[in-house]
Symmetry: C2
Subunit: 449 residues, 2 copies
């Protein structure tokens, strides 16, 4: 395959105080970021000024860290923060062009609510909404929703697939031109352009129609993160953006080819899905400045937090009985995130890391791709992945916020632009247009009509 | 009881094109209001400039009118509009002082989601969130949520009571000062100030804690609308504002005394609950101008829409076989809104109305209290209800928007202010403070601590 040209896409992944596990302890960090609306307004406006495609918010329906050692939790900062749909809706009112992508789980939600809220956000924002469709894999989340255990892996992906199908169907409840609003004739809508889904499946029975008009983007952009076999297949069928984690160029290129290769059987074109791996950049004006920044953050990690993180990423098993300076023990296959478990254990084996070295190695990016260096060094890496078809763009995970985003905009973006790899101005009106995704046709409208 | 002094509270009930059933057909109406964000920004800012306590949004989880005659539905305008939580969150970002109250049903939601979203909105808005807790009584809503039928009246109120209890418990998950964010010690929160609800009830099992810090108001303000026996009891136990519908002073005074009298057994003070009936005002600079405005709107009602409305308000039975110019037939007790059925039938009997006369009589206010006249005449009526303990304030339902709200602000408010009945400026920082409601103490904090 020849090397590609064109421009890459960028997301700004806004984790409250930043993505480094000890970010909140950094002197620059806004420690109350999780519930500081002004902080998010500043970040969203900065990302928009820098022409990022989108801001991205993670989510969980419980207090994170409940599944691991209690003591370490008091050092965790991601336990109480804004709910993404409310936060993105508020940010919609103070931004104009940037996409607004939020996570919502299919495990403990109803498709009617989710379809409705993201369609509503799409209208409020003038076509900038995106939904990161995830499944929930923590028991402490299940316990907030009438269940003792979470759904097992296969069932939760089956539910997710049906959930996505219902949601897409509800988004087509009305033709784009269904609302005629003819005051003289007293005809608010055309009944022939209203469609009743009447879905009856294994997990859901949903009649419809949705009580929101078809939204500016037709459908809000659907994002997914799963990289397991079931996750890849679900993404090939329903996702338009994949937010993923690969450590090496080889893994990234293989993943890219694998997922794009699955699209055809669902009648989709490779361009209908953008692959945007997470990247955790620590950028300095010199290499030593970057390394110092990184070391400063690493020194702030409480060993208990590091251990809890490794436990979480390797499947949720209690590792506190194992020596910190010994290897990761053999672990059974998890029923939580299988792909995350595999990636983490592979990394430890490949680099021959002890538990302590592993947490120091992954704490920053929490399993994502970590780059420490000058703007030029970082852009070399991003470019390499992009031109070799390892990525269509990246979801940028600043180590500390707000400064990490500012550093990326001031140091990395000029270098990307110098090489022609990133836009100077928004060209699209909607998130879909900026990402280069087509607007989906309404399923009820005959081809060619 | 001596006549009361003091000031009344006002809500601005924002129904997309206005509350009159034919509002959208009026030349002044913004026909696409339901999905026009700028329209709502304008309304919220106008209501805030006028010092209303709050804006109020209704909701349903289906396309309204699906339970009645299909043909009439094409003339209905409340079928596809913003979802309230997304809309209020967006409005939070462009307003500073006004309360933001949205409806969400307990019938097809999970308490963890609702507690979280309203707590998040309370943080985003700096303490201005309110939740109008309702139960869902339409089958077309149930069919969007895996059910063939909705819950029956008693079960749905039992579920609502438990839902409210869980939500309140989740809002107390963290003490106000739980987040110490001690960077040097690496201590983000104090584990002794974190509380696990561990609710196990008939309808819900919810472990907690909530993943949002305790919000500025402690709890978002809880609003309710039910006026049936079960609804009154639920309100006495859990509501802080009641949005109700009484046609006469006598009914209003009786309702007020009845509900306030139920508070003591729940350890509550009469001031802990504000009763704010809906009022549908058509105000003119002269009485004849007001009457002309009203007649213009009445002339826009399609008889099929009128009949469908009467069917809906009297319990959802099909009345299309009865002569429009004959009386309302005897109807069985509904399993939908019992109080709404009773109020509507009583009105028809009291005023000896035919079906046509009834729809003309109630179409405007959809069962609420309708006032047509000059500012002075309207304020006479409002004052009479207020000083005689028939209301603590009113939820204003403008007939057509945006002009109906503007008329109220420009004509009625100056007269209310001249009589000392309404504020010139906001005095409180939060919705709770403006309404005169105390901030609830955290249930886990010992008295006097």
């Amino acid at each position: 395959m020849s090397k590609r040209s064109g421009q890459l896409r960028l997301g700004a992944f806004l984790y409250p105080t930043g993505h480094h596990i000890a970010a909140w302890r950094h002197p620059d960090a806004q420690a109350d970021a999780g519930l500081n609306f002004r902080h998010y307004v500043e970040l969203a406006k900065a990302a928009e000024a820098a022409k990022f495609d989108l801001v991205f918010l993670a989510d969980g329906v419980g207090t994170r860290g409940d599944s691991v050692d209690f003591l370490s939790r008091t050092a965790h900062s991601y336990v109480a923060q804004f709910e993404p749909i409310t936060l993105l809706s508020a940010l919609a009112a103070v931004t104009e062009r940037i996409g607004l992508v939020g996570t919502a789980s299919t495990s403990f939600n109803e498709p009617y609510h989710i379809a409705r809220k993201f369609a509503s956000l799409d209208h409020i924002s003038g076509g900038r909404a995106g939904w990161n469709l995830v499944t929930s894999s923590n028991e402490h989340e299940a316990k907030n929703f009438n269940r003792d255990k979470h759904f097992d892996h296969a069932e939760r992906y089956e539910r997710a697939a049906e959930f996505a199908e219902v949601t897409a169907g509800l988004w087509d409840s009305w033709d784009d031109d269904a609302f005629v609003r003819d005051k003289a004739q007293g005809r608010f809508f055309d009944p022939d352009r209203r469609h009743v889904l009447d879905h009856k499946g294994r997990f859901f029975q949903v009649k419809g129609p949705l009580n929101v008009a078809r939204s500016p983007q037709g459908h809000p952009v659907v994002v997914q993160a799963g990289s397991s076999e079931a996750g890849r297949e679900l993404a090939a069928r329903t996702a338009e953006v994949i937010f993923t984690a690969q450590q090496t160029l080889e893994d990234a290129v293989n993943f890219y080819a694998d997922v794009k290769g699955r699209l055809e059987k669902y009648g989709r074109h490779p361009d209908d899905l953008k692959i945007m791996p997470g990247v955790f950049p620590i950028v300095g004006r010199s290499e030593s400045e970057a390394t110092e920044k990184f070391e400063e953050l690493q020194s702030l990690i409480d060993p208990k937090v590091g251990l809890a993180l490794v436990s979480g990423l390797t499947g949720g098993f209690d590792l506190s009985g194992y020596p910190l300076d010994g290897p990761i023990p053999d672990l059974p296959e998890t029923n939580a995130s299988k792909s995350r478990q595999l990636l983490t254990i592979e990394l430890a084996r490949r680099e021959n890391l002890t538990i302590r070295q592993l947490y120091l190695r992954i704490a920053g990016a929490r399993g994502h791709w970590q780059l420490v260096g000058t703007a030029e060094q970082i852009v070399d890496e991003l470019e390499e992945r992009f031109v070799n078809y390892g990525a269509d763009g990246f979801n940028v995970m600043p180590p500390v916020l707000p400064n990490g985003l500012k550093d990326f905009a001031e140091l990395v973006l000029p270098e990307l632009r110098r090489r022609g790899l990133f836009r100077d101005e928004y060209t699209g009106r909607t998130l879909r247009e900026n990402l280069g995704l087509r607007r989906p046709q309404n399923r009820y409208v005959a081809d060619g009509k």
